[in-house]
């Protein structure tokens, strides 16, 4: 009974809301009226004027042509000063009756529209609308001024050598940062509206004489197919457009460095930008793009490759140390040289847990410290360090909950995982480490190898926008062979072949 009643009441409500929105849609779809009062009234209802605090409606009298006019804008996202200087005062001071409106106004960009929905979009984007008595169109004056921060230093992708600029939340600034690096007329910045209600803008940036048309179309299709109310920023968009949503491997690269985004564009990749996102999405992405950093190429050849070597080492250490330890101690004790084995046995003597449990306790503790350290308000940050290092490390050993060697093993693995800079790949490695640890606790090296082989089979079957995840290693494509190690800059003469760019050679 109750359910039925509830359902009925829901149904009624729905009908009501649909009715009101129907009216709104009707209003939005109509053109504006040449009667100024009527137009102003309809905009007043649309913007709930005067309840809406920051909507400004100012009536003026154009003295030259002796016409009434009204100007409407949202003052928190519009530059009021420029409207005052370039629109209102010229209109008021004009004495020449033969001059048209667009001749009087001195503002930078000006266009006319007559459909209400289009005008509303412009006003929502920070432009001002000017309505004039007797004219069935509105003048839209560009005076956008959204608040935001300035260009600041990159915080997550640090480099010692190289540019320090990072993207910020304004897409205009971000585009400018890219244009500063690629001064070419073939750099295209396309814009699309991707959400139905909030009307979020997306910018697709690419070089038109490099990018593969099929790839571009694929990206556009996938973006256009989105049917959502709002997509606030790129991190949410990434999850909307990626292929394998449950996979632990990321397939879209997320970078906050304009220099990195620019170098990807120069290779024929596509970059996505959005307002409110201090970063960019690079697609398609391969495993290598997560493993590389921009600094690898800024450093000289031997130094760059040395960091690459350290990074691949760190990748394997953080994936395998704890699981190998568990496997060796539990299943393959004969592998360890006798002296070391005795040392390990001596430290483990007083610990009541099996090695697997011991390592799990430490791993979880480490991840907790890490997560807490990230969320803790910065004034109490140092406390975490003290609690983590002293209490969990020192005291746990003294209390015989873990053996000292496990502290070393877990700390080494945890520390190494920081060498993988990309946040998504970092998670992949951390989750992968836990999975391997599980496998090792059950079946030792056999379990580790089985899981690892499955992971390889999985990795080679992932595709990001049609590009195999491990290319150009396999399947083989013509490229600069920038995979685990890079080559001398002069020998990196090809763009990545798996993107099928229009121009393969870099010079």
């Amino acid at each position: 009974m109750l359910k039925k009643l509830l359902r009925r009441s829901y149904r009624n409500k729905k009908v009501n809301s649909e009715k009101s929105s129907e009216e709104e849609i009707k209003l939005n779809e109509s053109n504006i009226n040449s009667n100024l009062n009527k137009t102003v009234d309809s905009f007043k209802t649309i913007y709930s004027y005067p309840d809406n605090q920051d909507v400004v409606l100012r009536n003026i009298h154009i003295s030259g042509s002796n016409k009434k006019a009204a100007i409407l804008f949202i003052n928190t996202i519009t530059n009021a000063k420029s409207i005052e200087d370039y629109v209102i005062s010229p209109l008021l001071q004009n004495q020449d009756s033969s001059k048209q409106i667009d001749e009087i106004i001195t503002v930078q960009s000006l266009q006319t529209k007559n459909k209400i929905s289009e005008i509303v979009t412009h006003i929502n984007n920070g432009n001002a609308a000017l309505f004039v008595e007797g004219e069935n169109k509105a003048y839209l004056l560009g005076a956008t001024n959204f608040e935001g921060r300035n260009v600041e230093k990159a915080e997550n992708e640090n480099v010692v050598k190289g540019s320090k600029e990072a993207f910020n939340e304004k897409s205009a600034t971000n585009i400018s940062l890219i244009r500063k690096r690629i001064k070419s007329e073939s750099l295209v910045v396309e814009s699309l509206i991707i959400s139905k209600r909030s009307k979020n803008d997306l910018f697709i940036v690419y070089e038109k004489d490099l990018v593969n048309d099929k790839l571009l179309q694929n990206v556009k299709d996938r973006v256009n197919a989105l049917d959502v109310d709002a997509i606030q920023n790129l991190s949410l968009l990434e999850q909307q457009i990626e292929e394998r949503k449950y996979s632990i491997f990321p397939t879209i690269l997320y970078t906050e460095r304009p220099d990195r985004a620019a170098s990807f564009i120069e290779d024929g990749y596509i970059v996505l930008l959005m307002d409110n996102s201090p970063d960019s999405l690079v697609l398609p992405a391969t495993f290598w793009s997560f493993y590389h950093t921009s600094e690898d190429h800024y450093l000289r050849f031997p130094y760059g490759n040395f960091t690459r070597f350290l990074r691949i080492l760190a990748l394997f250490i953080s994936l395998f140390t704890s699981s190998l330890y568990v496997a060796v101690v539990t299943f393959h004790a004969e592998m360890v040289p006798p002296d070391l084995l005795l040392a390990i046995a001596a430290t483990r003597e007083k610990v009541p847990f099996p090695a697997a449990i011991e390592v799990f306790i430490m791993e979880i503790a480490f991840e907790l410290i890490r997560e807490a350290g990230l969320r803790v308000p910065s004034p109490i940050g140092p406390t975490i360090g003290i609690v983590g290092a002293l209490i969990l490390g020192q005291a746990a050993v003294q209390a015989n909950i873990v053996s000292p060697i496990v502290v070393i093993i877990v700390a080494l693995g945890g520390l190494s995982s920081f060498a993988i800079g990309d946040i998504s790949m970092n998670f992949t490695v951390r989750i992968g480490r836990l999975l391997l640890l599980f496998a090792a606790s059950f079946m030792g090296l056999y379990g580790i190898t089985a899981l690892f082989t499955m992971a390889i089979f999985y990795m080679v079957s992932i595709k990001s926008f049609g590009v195999p995840y491990l290319s150009p290693l396999t399947p083989n494509y013509k490229s600069s062979k920038d995979t685990i190690f890079r080559r001398v800059l002069q020998k990196e003469t090809f763009r990545p072949g798996y993107l099928k760019p229009k121009d393969m050679t870099k010079r």
Binding site: N212, K214, L215, N218, V328, F331, H332, E334, M335, P337, M443, G444, L445, Y446, G447, I448, T449, A450, F452, T453, M454, I456, F457, Y458, V460, S461, K463, F465, G466, V467, P468, L470, L473, T474, P475, N476, K500
Partner: protein, 369 residues
């Protein structure tokens, strides 16, 4: 972009060939060869390799004659529907038995050499689950995975070789011809089918990027495998002498138990993961071959879906023999002896039929046109 096209390049193909056949040096194949020919066992892979050139060459002539047709389609085309079915069905039975026997052997190796306390079904289960997962991904993915791990596997093999040669004794190699040249030639050619897998490779003919890649890859693979197996078998003789080696079922695993490096006295667990990866890849291909053949025989287009049930069947059949170390050793020898004439005479037969049907002339005419 080109998601539908699943062609693999020469690198991936060679990796598949070598992992599929070269891995045999690490199971009981060397033991089977040593059993009859004693210390001259290392010659068998070379002799067989030379003999194997004939069927492989003939098969290449026949299959290469058609574009985009695999061995299965060519067989159907040459022998007609009925005989084609019988031949392919025989091939399937041999492949299926070989897969069961080999997976059982590998399970036995893991069980007796490394995980003595673990129940067989768990070891077998994990082995087959990983392989089924790999095979389910498709041929292209198996190739890519094979190529990704291949260099590291070769390095580990080379390391094992260097370490074992250091401890060997070259005098064990003599008398060079062991039981006598005639005996060697006879006994080794009877076991020609250690290379029978090459026959099955022709099923993948249309899946390789170009005909040239396939031919080059197959020959390179053969040379590489012959060298790999022969060198390792020589090494086994160096290390153990023929008396001991006839007792050993899995010489490779005894070798990696014997060798040491510096302060590491027990190296076998170091080599285990590499060998395991090779085995996983190997059986993924075997499973894929079986599914491919069944798919062709019974007109199942999406044969990948068969793999999980096929894998389950293999586990339960493979678990049947008791004391697998001996039973399966004998079973495998029987299969080798039975498959040898099949592997040698079928390509000859195919070539002869193709000759009589005038298939080669057709192709030439087409080319001229």
């Amino acid at each position: 972009m080109e998601q539908s096209k699943q062609l693999i390049g020469i690198k991936e193909y060679i990796a598949i060939v070598i992992l599929m056949i070269g891995t045999k040096l690490s199971d009981d194949t060397p033991a089977i060869l040593f059993e009859q020919i004693k210390n001259a066992g290392w010659m068998a892979p070379i002799i067989n390799g030379i003999i194997a050139i004939i069927p492989i060459y003939l098969l290449m002539k026949v299959v290469g004659n058609y574009k985009d047709k695999s061995l299965a389609e060519v067989t159907d085309h040459l022998f007609g529907k009925f005989f084609g079915f019988i031949i392919l069905f025989t091939l399937l039975v041999v492949a299926f038995c070989a897969t069961i026997v080999d997976t059982a052997i590998y399970t036995d190796i893991i069980g007796t050499m490394y995980f003595t306390k673990t129940p067989t079904i768990i070891i077998y289960g994990i082995l087959i689950v990983v392989c089924a997962y790999g095979a389910r991904r498709g041929f292209e993915q198996i190739g890519s995975a094979a190529w990704t791990v291949f260099p590291y596997l070769q390095v580990s093999l080379l390391l094992a070789l260097i370490l074992s040669i250091r401890e060997g004794n070259t005098a064990f190699l003599f008398p060079l011809f062991g039981p006598g040249p005639w005996e060697i030639a006879k006994e080794s050619s009877l076991r020609l089918s250690i290379y029978a897998d090459f026959f099955y490779l022709f099923l993948f003919f249309p899946l390789i990027k170009s005909k040239k890649d396939f031919i080059k890859g197959t020959w390179l693979g053969l040379v590489f495998i012959v060298l790999n197996i022969a060198i390792f078998m020589t090494c086994f003789v160096f290390l153990f002498d023929y008396k001991t080696i006839m007792q050993l079922s899995y010489p490779y695993h005894e070798v990696i138990r014997t060798i040491s490096m510096g302060f590491l006295t027990n190296m076998e667990t170091f080599f285990l993961p590499f060998w395991l990866i090779a085995s996983f890849v190997r059986f993924s291909i075997y499973l894929y071959i079986n599914a491919l053949l069944i798919g062709h025989l019974f007109r199942i287009r999406h044969f990948e879906y068969l793999i999980p049930s096929l894998a389950t069947l293999i586990v339960f059949l493979g678990l049947i023999p008791e004391s697998p170390t001996f039973t399966i050793f004998n079973l495998k020898e029987k299969i080798l002896l039975i498959a040898t004439p099949l592997f040698f005479f079928l390509p000859v037969l195919m070539w002869v039929v193709a000759m009589f049907k005038g298939e080669f002339k057709h192709a030439n005419k087409k080319k001229r046109k």
